[in-house]
Symmetry: C3
Subunit: 109 residues, 3 copies
């Protein structure tokens, strides 16, 4: 057994949870805070057989890797009533930091 610790953005946490359920990966979720931005994020703790670690890392990567998404900034109606066109802009979202720890003993009571 290994313990996988994955720190992801809140916005990717629910999708990642669903992926774990689909792939029968048991997990526990913690509400955490980023040291730098001081904003909320989510940490998963996953006890998993060693031979399934690559599969779990692949699930995390697909569900929460850093990527660019187009976002249309919310336009403040007061600014310009003449039919404002809000152009979509590219922003970076997501990202996951993952640690795999050795486990001496795993028990279920």
């Amino acid at each position: 057994t290994k313990l996988v610790i994955a720190i992801v953005q809140d916005k990717d946490a629910n999708y990642l949870s669903d992926q774990f359920i689909d792939q029968n990966v048991r997990a526990t979720k913690l509400s955490t805070t980023g040291g730098f931005l001081q904003s909320g994020n989510t940490t998963f703790m996953i006890g998993i057989e060693e031979e399934r670690v690559p599969e779990v890392l692949e699930i995390i990567k697909k569900a929460s890797h850093t990527r660019e998404e187009f976002m249309t900034p919310s336009v403040n109606m007061d600014v310009n009533m003449e039919g404002t066109t809000a152009y979509p802009i590219k922003v970076q979202v997501g990202g996951a930091t993952v640690l795999v720890l050795p486990v001496d003993q795993f028990e279920r009571f």
Copy 2:
């Protein structure tokens, strides 16, 4: 030193905490969420001398193992005023998932 991580049901957490105090086991508690049921549970982190690990696992097992308890379902009085008899039913409660991790260094400042 080893780090024991124990994930237990909220309803067993206080009793387990008391047992740790009685047996002089130092512990830190985290509020966590189950990946599958998405409901709250409790995770303990316990830094303990290696030779006391079996004792700590025994305390966790006794305090929070999966067991059947009789529960009398709360009867809604509106349903049937003719002196309802609520028969006790058997339900499964408790359960603990425990990981023991190796520790390279342990310090108190």
Copy 3:
């Protein structure tokens, strides 16, 4: 890479966070509860290169070691209006419990 887990008092957490930012130490914060006093404290999780572990322990030690501070107890004005003199008293504050765990694999996605 190693995983440093540091449990400190809430009152030292912000100062320690700032020190980590100054020294470019990446960290994640958890709100936790002490097993004995059942009061809130803060746990940091820090994934760090092995050669920087002594430096991180030194930062934690300086920012949150057990020390004596003078505190002037808040005097309840109702008690004695004749110009109460509240003498400062020495109290113990701070303290950190730190575990360094081995890490098999570290990834950023």
